[in-house]
Symmetry: C2
Subunit: 292 residues, 2 copies
């Protein structure tokens, strides 16, 4: 017998990013989100599977030296090839710079901070163009900044150029919005060296049991820690804050989280940004050698 004499090839960063998307959506229970055991009325599990298949083209581009903007736009274009609409836009926004960092052997908070700080105006233009493929939930822009509403898509290019706004600049604006707008949780990852993603990755790596359970527990920690941007945009800050409290009460108890999942689905509470950071954390954990 000569079985199993070969060591399997290691997964590349692009493959780990694709696997992170799949593990994120499969992790259960993730209260309020599509998961292995739940669909939403307008979004089904299989659309996330197709989204993960299509996203890989963007991940491969990031791994082979493509710019952050090109990789993001290519990934979103591939992701959108299913009938559910936006499945993983936010995940891609986090995963693409992390892949670039992993490819350059600098998958650390400082490493990825350098990478996002090197983005250009051309990256912002590609970022805006990405919104032409899918309908993404974002907060309204400040009244004096209609020209920078991401929903303008490619039409924003002239403003981006004339104001020399890099993608990092755009994220900084979204992380620190003026007036009463909601700070974007993904943008905050960009401007803080992906601090929550790295912390959640550490939790996944030191946790035990099947990785889908670890993913669910990391999601619960993140949800309790900080109000979810998507929940805040759709339901207001009080609801987002209440969601944190209820996740905090559940703690790491996946049984109790099942009940919370039923409640959130009923209430239309969909913590999308928390899921995005969970995917980013899974990617980092896979790159660090956590096994499936």
């Amino acid at each position: 017998m000569t079985k199993q004499i070969h060591t399997p090839v290691e997964r590349s960063p692009a493959e780990n990013a694709q696997l992170a998307l799949l593990l994120e959506v499969a992790g259960t229970p993730k209260p309020g989100n599509v998961d292995r055991h739940r669909d939403l009325s307008d979004l089904r599990f299989e659309q996330f599977l197709a989204g993960a298949v299509g996203s890989l083209a963007g991940f491969r581009l990031a791994a082979s030296g493509g710019t952050i903007g090109e990789a993001l736009r290519t990934g979103v274009q591939g992701m959108s090839n299913q009938s559910g609409g936006n499945t993983q836009f936010g995940c891609l926004l986090l995963l693409v710079p992390l892949i670039t960092a992993a490819t350059r052997d600098s998958l650390t908070p400082d490493g990825v901070k350098t990478i996002v700080s090197e983005t250009t105006v051309s990256d912002s233009i590609d970022f805006y163009r990405s919104f032409e493929y899918v309908d993404v939930a974002v907060d309204d822009p400040p009244t004096d900044a209609d020209a920078l509403d991401v929903r303008r898509g490619a039409a924003a290019a002239e403003t981006l150029r004339s104001r020399a706004l890099t993608l990092y600049d755009i994220m900084e604006l979204s992380a620190n919005p003026d007036g009463n707008r909601t700070a974007d949780g993904n943008a905050e990852e960009w401007t803080t060296g992906f601090s929550r993603s790295f912390r959640a990755a550490e939790q996944i790596a030191t946790d035990s049991g099947p990785i889908l359970d670890r993913a669910a527990r990391a999601f619960l920690s993140l949800l309790a820690e900080k109000p979810d941007t998507l929940v805040a945009i759709k339901h207001g800050r009080d609801v987002a804050s209440n969601v944190c409290d209820r996740a905090g009460a559940v703690g790491q108890d996946l049984g109790a989280a099942e009940a919370l999942a039923a409640e959130f689905v009923e209430e239309g509470i969909n913590p999308g940004t928390t899921a995005d950071i969970t995917a980013a954390a899974l990617f980092i954990a896979l790159e660090r050698g956590v096994e499936v």
Copy 2:
């Protein structure tokens, strides 16, 4: 507003094959198998997700002109990069020639028949080498043919060369075994122009509802139609025949199939070949334009 002005890119055959693997394992209930709602004691859902991620390298090789054998071996090597062991070997054996056919614009029973009939001795050597990455359940070889036991891996190369056995020849031997051995259901697909795969694809395409339900119903039809090879190898032909009858009694009723799924998991009945053909059917259906 300039949203959704772009048509998404079409999925390539390699991407559709990867998606077929993901939809196959997610389809539920698939009595006796890992599915969206069930793990087995030694095999978990997430290992199939990782298997699908790793298999793509082989699919891409098939799509870019690699030989059937190289693509299969590369796919199996990538698939095996998870801790569950063999997740999708049989699926890959069916998907690789179908991808080649799709790439040559000849995804028909005759088209794929031509492709498998053109395989060479080199393809059989690669096929045997594929068994070195994972532990695959196969029937014992006839007593006079130990030299062709696939579990010999690369050690069988000399025999393959001296007897000039192509991969098609190997499949023909497995589809029409002598003595009391079990005919291999996947090998029969190779020698019959993938007749059951194409028929099940037609069922999926004309069925209605979410694709994961369609996948589950196609699996039930296939299971009722013909004894599953893996069940026959592990439990004998009478059990495999009884499994057909019980699947036939369930018909297309997914509710009744839930109960059957609980029974089969309890009894250790794992219809693997039926799952392989379901994956092949999903690939053909996706190539024919069935939407996710």
